[in-house]
Symmetry: C2
Subunit: 402 residues, 2 copies
Amino acid sequence: MSENLKICSGFRFAGVHCGLKAGDALDLALLLSDCPAAAAAVFTENRFPAAPVVCGRKQMAAGDKIQAVLINSGNANACTGDQGEIDVAIVAEVLAAALELPREQMFISSTGVIGEPLPVTTILRGVESLVESLDDDAFGGPALERAARAIMTTDKSQKTVGIEVETSLGVVTITGIAKGAGMIHPNMATMLAYLLTDAGIEPQILPGMLKRVVDQSFNRISVDGDMSTNDTVLTLANGISGYSLSAPADLEAFEKGLLKVARELSTMIVKDGEGATKTVTIKVTGARHLKDAEIICRAVANSALVKTAFFGQDANWGRIIAAVGYAGVELKPELVNVSFDRVRVVSGGMRDPEYLEADGAAVLRQAEFTVKIDLQSGEDEFTVLTSDLTHDYISINADYRS
Amino acid sequence: MSENLKICSGFRFAGVHCGLKAGDALDLALLLSDCPAAAAAVFTENRFPAAPVVCGRKQMAAGDKIQAVLINSGNANACTGDQGEIDVAIVAEVLAAALELPREQMFISSTGVIGEPLPVTTILRGVESLVESLDDDAFGGPALERAARAIMTTDKSQKTVGIEVETSLGVVTITGIAKGAGMIHPNMATMLAYLLTDAGIEPQILPGMLKRVVDQSFNRISVDGDMSTNDTVLTLANGISGYSLSAPADLEAFEKGLLKVARELSTMIVKDGEGATKTVTIKVTGARHLKDAEIICRAVANSALVKTAFFGQDANWGRIIAAVGYAGVELKPELVNVSFDRVRVVSGGMRDPEYLEADGAAVLRQAEFTVKIDLQSGEDEFTVLTSDLTHDYISINADYRS
């Protein structure tokens, strides 16, 4: 955890082992606000939404304020039918009783294997120690870290970001925690993220703001092109700072801060991509339409052959060109330029006459670099962050459940 | 090569090493008809078509008959600009001179690395020995095998199929050769296939027939979701059998035979998929629209997580459900059933109450099996053949050019 991590006032955290994961790995997390918070959420677009997603959508539609978030790892409570939703209600009920808070202010998330019934009694046994450990550590730090660890599945490290935002009223804080390392895709896959702030934000402003932020962050990363049943980004604004933001300049500054936190968490997710050794920015410029830029960008970012070439540190630009070509967008091949960082590789659809393979290879040996594809046909552009496809990805996913 | 392989009369074959591949690996193939043949072709839809694809399209548009096909491996002649097309013309010119045939009847294909200039002089030096070795072996067999080997890139074995078709006039023969093991996708990626027949077919009938056949065969396989710059399926009908097919029943029997050859070659390509250890049929049934069935079928067949689970022999049906869900098709989750061969795994969007994991795992241990996804919402269905995603896929593609 960074020393510069800023932790919101008015939130407490906990993470314990309840028995969903093997050994003594943390598997149950609690994020608790000191008061009911304005809430907004963006959920997976998967047509098999998990039970906690179905329940969470109903809470958001009802405009419920949220005070506590309980997250379990080890079981996704997905494809579990009506019983899955009943299980969410039971967990929410027991948590509400333990916290002595209204049940509708409990928000539940799950992540893990699909299709197994949620082990409700195991979770319920953990709720008491979870609530107790909140009191152990009222000021964040280690408790936040335990919560972040408790929501991990194939993640190698916990993901937390905290920043301060200056407003005309005073300084507010935004703290984010997230998990996700595989199945990451345009539409936020097996990804959970919680963006907490002590700023006061009008509940009706929050959903639109979160949607814009998610579109510019979590929806621009790609690890393997799959999308999960459980993806959730939740933001809570509890107003404990005493600063209720309403001036346009303040709201703009806050939204920028929220985007910064979301982007840093997104980058952490790509860097922790299952088996990933490279973080690659794919940037398409000069498109006639934004949609064209996006389609081409995602085709390149999701190409198994391109991602494997990154792993091999092979400056095989032909695979990039092939992916641009099969994306299905009308383009003029003879105008397309490609660069690796500052090394021009392709000019006018062909190998640049000055290009030396050694220069391209030197860029690809770096842990981070940018592939820029300029279509030279317009003004629109799109960027996606992706990773390489490696032996470890196969090992992790061939053996995940065993 | 199968002992039952039927080789068309009126075609001769050759395969030699000219120096495009390392060592003495065969890298130049010739397929020669005894007379000009009616021709039709289907090419890649990639927006960066390779030079031989551009030239081949022009020949087909001009309605040229084709008598000789020269194919080189080791270099794709893609992203090579105007010089690439000039190089195709030079190779065609020299081949035509060596065979004493009209240049417009020469059809050229290339496969291999993208973006390197075609080593024309290396190829030209090989043309003479190529034409000479045609005479060594006038009756197919070993010469056909050499030709099939000479077009391979990452393929582990050559791919040839030959069958006889009974018609009202007499027996005609169809012989196919193909290459392809990676980048295989819906729209026929890095795949070359040549379907040769001694039947006589009207040139204006052939393109429509080939299109239907390709849609039902090469366009229904998936290895890694990429699509190449060079894909080509060419069919030649030289009429040497003396049987010109025109009766509807004869044409139907012939088209069935052509589809059989194309499907067998497609299956060989999936089985030889880079690093593949499993051949899996994904079958979606009960869709409201054919397009819905196709979209879901391809989403599952191309999912990196699903394909890795197949490799791990992990009956992780949750990943299949997740892929069905993110395909973007409206569906009723509570109606969806999934089976592995005859083992019902999912009923009504949830784990089937009778399902035992051991039964699912037993199916996945087989080298070949079927995943059936029944949407129970209509009558349409779609099938795609796919493979698993393995460590060897990564090794092959991370190191392909080194």
